[in-house]
Amino acid sequence: MVEEKQILTKNMRDSKYSGDLKAYKNAGGFNALDTVIRKMKPEQVLELVKASDLRGRGGAGFPTGVKWSFMPKDTGKPSYLICNADESEPGTFKDHLIMMRDPHLFLEGMIIGCYTIDCNTGYIYIRGESQTAIAIMEKAIGELYKDKLLGQNVMGSKYSLDLYVHPGAGAYICGEETALLDSLEGKRGQPRIKPPFPAVSGYNSCPTSVNNVETLACLPYIINEGPEAWKAMGTPNNSGTHMVCISGHVEKPGVYEVEMGVSLLEMINDLAGGVRNGKKLKAVIPGGASANILKADEADVPYEFDALMKAGTMMGSAAVIVFDEDTDMVEVASRTIRFFNHESCGQCTPCREGTFWLKNMIRDFLDNAGDEAKMQRVERVSANLIGTTICPFGDATGGPMGTFIGKFPEDFRKHFA
């Protein structure tokens, strides 16, 4: 039986919790920042984060402490921490929950992160459609300035920090960290060729770290309780708890906080109430539209970065999308490719052209004009997207599109002419 944890969601699960600064402080908020500012040097915080094995919750699962240790010091340039609150991966809605219900938890984490990398100006990049989240974050930041938790001399120390919200304007690709940086610089959001990596040359050509909302929200607990307490949850190399978004054909869609490494199948059944209307499970996408689909008999895997990678897919942004037995995978492939075609930034030929042709070919199947040759062509074009593009969007399209056909050929054959 999988059980919910309440590490990150402790406050927000209380329906009376208002999320304002007073409520957050009453719940013990800003103790971690107090410890950090008064008792710790940035290097000590960095060591602690490294020791926790915390891995980024934005999609790639890169160790946060290691990422920060790549940032050069004494370059004479300012360092920047940019929070990625773009949250656009289909199936993902946890970062919004954090921002709307417990904004100060995330802000405390962000201030700790800024202190650690010696950053005096940080930006929170929130997707432009989310005016509600933007307003809540602006208000929360205002409270912090009033309370001297932001601005000159944070908590009376020598450390100063300004935080600003930056609105996106409706482009999924701006969640990719280098596209996000271009977007923040007032440009079209097109991914940059790496290297240089943002740690060396990111925002305004300065050392930059891009971190996800939930990643930063883990920091207060890690500081308060120590890295060992964090590592006591989850599995080796996949430490702590995380917030999983379950959507699609389940009885109780929503966000559930669990330890890393619980069974994906049990999570769907025990927490989300199983497949809705008593239907059988056909398949599940474990990490957003960018992750390869798993058949029902593959779904009993530990839900963590490493085990899912081994299973040929990924945990991505922890977006679990559930499909019941009546689902037509041609329909699913069609929605997926329409999304990726709409959102391709257009820089790379395999991505720009590939998503376009894939969309047209899948439409043929929807029109019951498929055939064996077209199936092979879809697989070939999908494979051509993998490893041939500037950013991981190519892989994120090619992988899932190839897998729909590879794992559910009979669904496509039903749409032959």
């Binding site: 656009s88 199936g91 432009g128 699609g248």
Partner: protein, 160 residues
């Protein structure tokens, strides 16, 4: 008239103070320009905003056309975005869209002749557990039934 009023210029200056370079404020500036223009960017505003932040009009046009939320044609007073992306698509997102198309006599991308409604098909809006859903201007309408949608349309027409 093209150009921000004096009271809005204060907001513009506050925006510029947030960034090391003026042009970095371009996205928030364009949002602001849309806010004072009923949700879209009439002609001339691209050049005006370009001037404000020391960049070229072509740079600004490139940005406007890249992002979904910037409109160069009028949108309805109620700009409706219906999510038909993958998770919502599994939970009646399409039914909602078809229903709205029928009731409003509009297809995605169109604005009603009276300027009251415009319709758009949206990609995932980060609220998939509350499907089916639509966003009207800034507000999310979640877990919708078709009756609720009809009521909402009726209210919107009355308020006109």
């Amino acid at each position: 008239m093209v150009g921000f009023s004096n009271s809005v210029i204060k907001e513009v200056d506050e925006l510029f103070s947030r960034y090391p370079v003026k042009v970095h404020a371009l996205l928030p500036l364009l949002h602001l320009a849309q806010r004072v223009n009923d949700g879209w960017l009439p002609s001339g505003w691209d050049a005006y905003v370009a001037d404000l932040c020391d960049t070229t009009v072509n740079h600004v046009r490139g940005v406007i056309t890249f992002y979904n939320m910037f409109h160069t044609k009028p949108v309805g007073r109620h700009h409706i975005m219906v999510c038909t992306c993958l998770p919502c698509g599994l939970c009646d997102g399409d039914k909602l869209l078809t229903h709205l198309e029928e009731r409003l006599g509009l297809h995605p991308g169109q604005t009603s002749a009276d300027g009251l409604f415009s319709l758009e098909e949206a990609q995932c809006l980060a609220a998939c557990d509350k499907a089916p859903l639509m966003m009207v201007n800034d507000k999310l309408h979640e877990n919708l039934t078709l009756e609720q949608v009809d009521n909402w349309i009726e209210q919107a027409r009355k308020k006109k």
